[in-house]
Symmetry: C2
Subunit: 430 residues, 2 copies
């Protein structure tokens, strides 16, 4: 069974993820060979700093000329773990053109240019796999693309950013404020020096675009994803959430509209009931909840980042691509046949939890309720608290289009009796 | 892209699962065609009772001659959802011999004859897929075989039987005894009239055999799986579990030994900490926890049975097999290259929670502790409760080989001062 010519892997990038990929390829070489049906060897490693000591990697494999490496022509699989858009994009398309398949962990690039990368892979008859790009070690892309290929997925809702989950979990359990929790995350290495991509939801939005495209067999661009970060979540929001039997998570939510004719994708903090499986996802773990017509509710849970978990997903893809090559076949390519349009956030149907600071005098509640009614938003519960001439109103709505909900808030802000809108948070997962 | 000759599917069995497979194939025909790259059609349906009304299935497709159907020669995929060993086994091997690949949901058959079925598939260059055989709709076989193909799995621990999880959950939440909870499960359709296969752990043991073989790339037969049912779990056990911050689940546990040279597979009730992700799996849901070297801890959660969830998994396999056929390739076959031996239960390293009824007099604890020490079992905690000359001792051990633990219990039973062993339960997931 076993053929002797080894399959050749070129590694682009040897940082947090790449160094682990190289380590596992070396230490598990026999297992990989047995599982693939042919030996697999590291044929070259492209980096920026050639003189850095890289444990376990023969010096002669190191190069700074990534382009020459992908053009060699004898490479079977190019593993792109450089990150960022360029030179990663050009290296990937060059790899395809020179007869290699590609495994990538690059969510930013895939969310932005997935369609053109898929097209390039198909043009050259090559594979493009990227399990590691979403939720690290958690098998998610393959289950969605393959296990659920005979089902109709209606919703994908997940915690897909470990940094922000760590921060929110800290705020929840310790009562800390956002910046205190961020400091702790940074100290422990869970947050980068510049945490913008995580805390402003850019990283999660890239993953949401990828997941929505796969789940609904359509094309969802990064610009199609509504995005709200979690920097404004306060300790008071957590207190309100607790009163409702909820916690707060930064969620990536991809949904098919009720009529099935469009989809939406969004990232924002939201309250979810403590009884929801996503509520108990602690620390930097990721988890993704999937609802499908026939399968019902599924959840996938695990470490969403880190060198070795991410490398596990990359290695799974390397094995798959190598098996495909031995079969002289390719795996499933892009599936965007439904061409479902992506609706804007205004059309999302959701619920709001709104805290208002109001004047403590009779008739305020009636005024506020009228504004909701005028916008066609029906109220689920109201809680009124008064102290020293000040009062607060906490309103939780029933489900309504986001546009109607935000229109309501805008109108509330204009009421004389409303001194301020203390917080607005969507409520999901019920 | 789309070829016009349809791929032909023969359905063997049209009961709970089969009827849902037929329904989805019909209602989702366009989606399936787009995802596969070719239309797929139902070419025949074998049943026992031809005259039963089967909604949505053209009468001319129905046959009682399953053998003739699989021998037709124009069938691409045979879907075996009859269940049981014969005639399922012969039909499957006949299908391979006549040029068809097979998708099956039959855990009993796969656990017993997986190796010979794989061999037959390989001999004829056909696929054998069976995602639905373990944990229903939950993508599990494919993640283990493919997503984690580059990793080293050390443990698979799961709730893989919905009936028993429903019963245990009822006992936990309502304080009901076993038979009361079983009655409720039966009334609600969660337990069959004869619940033996579920409550005695046979169903879970079949799944454990399948999972262990895949996870460790070795061959694990049904007989290799240690099996203990959950009919003896009492309300008192749940009370003890609560005192320890635990609940009780029927677990299927597949482990690699610490030295990596052997594996074990077992099914028994066990206490697990409430903080463990498996502890919060409620009702008839299934969940499987996987620990791998690089990936870390993963969990897969969802409905483990039911017509449409199981059909979702079958359909995913149908799509995969059809794609393989269009590629003129097959997916990964059996991978048993490690040939790791399966050790017996005595070699499993675990912890015991033991409740003893003892004489309420001085020196009993010393006597009991001596027995543990003589067997090399170290004690974690002891709780002593006395009332009216009777007393009870609850001992929780540290990790030790199961043989040493059961030797300890045997010796304890022989002590004069030990009136009885009220319960023994393993403690897992810490
Ligand atoms: N880290 C995670 O937990 C994680 C999780 C999921 C996905 N990912 C994705 O995995 C990818 C890699 O992440 P990482 O954390 O491993 O990044 P990293 O630690 O910064 O490593 C990047 C590597 O790329 C090399 N590199 C940078 N520019 C290059 C160029 N122009 N030519 C050749 N090599 C170049 C660097 O070389 P030097 O070593 O010489 O600096 C370094 O080895 C990213 O797409 C990221 O989004 C990461
Ligand atoms: N039900 C679940 O939730 C579930 C979940 C996971 C896996 N599975 C597995 O799926 C398989 C099917 O389960 P099921 O619940 O669908 O069983 P089921 O409802 O009892 O259906 C069995 C079907 O097989 C047909 N059949 C029986 N003997 C036959 C024979 N000799 N020739 C042709 N047809 C025959 C029956 O015909 P009639 O209709 O004429 O009686 C019936 O249509 C089993 O292996 C089971 O373990 C089931």
């Amino acid at each position: 069974m076993m053929r002797t010519r080894p399959l050749k892997v070129a590694l682009l990038g040897c940082g947090v993820v790449g160094s682990e990929v190289a380590r596992i390829m070396t230490t598990h070489a026999d297992d990989l060979a047995a599982r693939i049906g042919a030996p697999v060897e590291l044929a070259g490693v492209a980096v920026r700093r050639p003189d850095k000591v890289r444990a376990g990697i023969p010096a002669e494999l190191i190069t700074t000329d990534a382009t020459a490496l992908v053009k060699r022509g004898d490479i079977d699989v190019v593993v792109e773990v450089i990150g960022g858009v360029e030179p990663a994009r050009t290296l990937i398309t060059t790899a395809f053109a020179h007869g290699a398949s590609v495994v990538s962990a690059n969510k930013a690039l895939l969310a932005q240019d997935g369609a053109s990368l898929y097209a390039a892979a198909q043009e050259h008859g090559q594979d493009l796999y990227y399990e590691a790009a979403v939720a690290g070690a958690i098998p998610l892309i393959r289950p969605l693309r393959e296990s659920l290929a005979g089902d109709k997925i209606n919703r994908v809702m997940g915690i897909v950013n470990g940094t922000t989950n760590f921060i929110l979990d800290k705020m929840d359990t310790s009562g800390a404020g956002y910046s205190e929790a961020l400091d702790e995350a940074t100290a422990l290495g869970y947050a980068e020096a510049d945490p913008t991509a995580d805390v402003e939801g850019f990283d999660a939005a890239a993953k949401a675009a990828i997941l929505a495209g796969i789940a609904f067999h359509t094309r969802v661009r990064l610009d199609d994803v509504y995005r709200e970060g979690m920097t404004e979540v306060t300790a008071a929001d957590f207190a309100s959430a607790k009163q409702m039997g909820c916690t707060i998570k930064l969620l990536a939510i991809c949904e098919r509209a009720a009529d099935g004719e469009s989809v939406t994708a969004r990232v924002h903090p939201a309250m979810i009931p403590l009884s929801h499986p996503l509520a108990s996802v602690r620390e930097a773990y990721n988890a993704v909840f999937v609802e499908a017509d026939a399968a019902g509710q599924l959840m996938f849970y695990g470490p969403g980042a880190g060198g070795s978990p991410t490398a596990s997903a990359v290695l799974g893809d390397i094995v798959a691509v190598c098996r495909n090559r031995l079969n002289e076949a390719t795996g499933p390519g892009e599936s965007a046949y439904t061409q479902l349009p992506v609706s804007s956030m205004g059309e999302v149907v959701t619920r709001y939890h709104i805290s208002l600071d109001v004047a403590d005098k009779p008739g305020v509640l009636a005024q506020v309720a009228t504004v909701f009614a005028e916008h066609g938003v029906s109220i689920d519960t109201v809680r009124q608290k008064g102290k020293d001439g000040e009062a607060s109103l906490v309103v939780v709505t029933h489900r309504a289009p986001d546009a109607a909900l935000s229109g309501t808030v805008e109108a509330l802000r204009k009421l004389d009796t409303v001194r301020g809108v203390a917080s607005i948070m969507r409520v999901e997962g019920e």
